[in-house]
Amino acid sequence: MIIAEKKPIGEIIQEVKGYKRLLILGCNECVTVCEAGGRKEVGTLASALRIYFMKEGVEKQIDERTLERQCDHEYLEEIRDIADQYDAILSLACGVGVQFTAEKYHTTPLIPGVNTCFLGANEQRGVWTERCQACGSCILARTGGICPISRCAKRVMNGPCGGSSKGKCEINKELDCAWQLIIDRLRDLGRLDDYEIVAPIKEWSTERSGGPRKVVRADVQVSA
């Protein structure tokens, strides 16, 4: 799931200062689950902003709305009839949602209210950690289900590096060394001999460096 984090309110205030009629637009999917931009967070942010601007003696209209997702045309259409009533939309969706909304509401300024951080999982309530870097060519079958690209700070394909110490990464004593995890897993799977298989040089062009990516399934496309 996409994990995001609320932007500091000071930063948001700076961005929305110039707009009189503001719509705070939340998203009911990933940002709800990571408690950054769902209905609840929209409400909290709206109230906080109203308090701030009232205190400053600045008149502002701050409305709240949460869509099922902001990365699908159909849901974004739901605000078609009200979008022009606002001077700006403060979207609490992830970077995808903010952009997709901006594309659909071409003439309305779009302001992001969260920082989109990574693809991750919910370790426990209130704690989310990174698991995937969307490299486009998954090698998890070879590494015991643990990804060296997203969980190793140096993304070494044949690790661990010399800085692995007591199962932790050299950059942060609280960060697990991905390669220690992989070795432990291979041992538990009875496949420690696989450790000596040399992972080939990675094909990075399916990753960010190859340019913006696209996935198409012709068999499900509607138009001819």
């Binding site: 140096k154 070494v156 040399v198 990675k202």
Partner: protein, 321 residues
């Protein structure tokens, strides 16, 4: 291993490069290397003056590559300065800062100056250095860099498949740390580097001689000592404080309490000499270990002590090749 003459080695057909270091290994001598850190500026004297202190006591000199991610004059340029003063450089190259294009390109640059040795490393994370906000690259890791260098040299081809005009003539090295975690894969990791094509190894500095000898036993068990030349890393301690720091704050470092006790047991002004004595004793013990092919003496900012260590270690004079 019994000693051979240079002519005998040449006749054997075993030489793969023009590297002086390779010749010394194959002749059967214990090789000696040391290292210099380039300056945080553009004055080459900072490299050449250090090199002058040690050049007659070592077979080759490593130049570090933005060590601990602190920006310095590049290793390649420093190696060129060394070459121009008649020293044998070992180019250290990390994968942190360069993609595969730059790595191959710098390899060719080094080869164009007839630099004949390269150590393939991953590199410390940039958060340790002076540019914490920067990106890291790691397009390849150190194992893949070893493979790449061998491929360029032996196949004469770029990674992309095209032919290289005048393929690089470089003796391929890698690092090993017998003391890093987890211990159980340290020998498999060495085996992996050998399988990738590493021809010589320099280890992390050794203080726990028993653990090192255990690692070497496992290395010999797999016959790896016959496939790669292993140089034992040595760093003399300047003080008990330095020993404690390295024990507690440097990952992958094993400093036994006896070493610290020995240093703490002498007066502060006598500790540097004690540190050198410990280093010399270690060399004398490890010389007898089967599979140890040489010593890599890292006396960072203390290069002037290298001659004493080499001489008292019984490794002087160096063979003339």
């Amino acid at each position: 291993m019994s000693l051979r003459t240079l002519d005998q080695v040449k006749a054997s057909g075993e030489l793969r490069t023009s590297s002086r270091l390779e010749k010394i290994f194959r002749m059967g001598h214990l090789a000696v290397t040391s290292e210099c850190g380039p300056p945080r500026g553009s004055d080459p004297k900072a490299v050449t003056e250090k090199a002058l202190l040690i050049k007659d006591h070592v077979d080759a000199i490593n130049i570090t590559d933005n060590q601990t991610s602190v920006t310095r004059m590049c290793s390649l340029a420093s190696c060129i300065h060394l070459k121009q003063m008649g020293c044998e450089p070992v180019l250290q190259m990390v994968t942190r800062d360069r993609n595969r294009i730059a790595l191959q390109s710098d390899i060719l640059g080094a080869a164009s100056f007839d630099i004949n040795n390269m150590l393939c490393l991953t590199g410390d994370h940039q958060s340790f250095g002076d540019c914490k906000q920067g990106q890291n690259v790691h397009d390849l890791d150190s194992m893949q860099l070893i493979q790449t260098l061998r491929h360029m040299r032996d196949e004469g081809k770029f990674l992309g498949g095209d032919d290289i005009k005048r393929p690089p003539d470089l003796f391929v090295g890698a690092a090993a740390n017998p003391f890093a975690d987890p211990f159980e894969i340290r020998v498999p990791r060495l085996a992996k580097k050998v399988a990738c094509g590493a021809e010589f190894i320099q280890t992390q500095c050794i203080y726990n001689l028993d653990k090192f000898e255990e690692w070497m036993r496992r290395v010999r068990e797999r016959g790896l000592h016959e496939k790669v030349f292993i140089m034992a890393g040595m760093t003399p301690m300047k003080s008990a404080g330095m020993a404690k720091y390295m024990k507690n704050r440097v990952p992958g470092m094993d400093v036994p309490d006896e070493v610290i006790a020995r240093l703490s047991g002498v007066a502060k002004d006598k500790q540097p000499q004690e540190g050198i004595d410990i280093c010399v004793e270690a060399i004398q013990r490890l010389k007898e270990v089967e599979g140890v092919s040489g010593f890599h003496i890292m006396a960072i900012e203390w290069e002037e002590k290298v001659p004493e260590i080499v001489e008292r270690g019984g490794l002087y004079p160096r063979p003339q090749v």
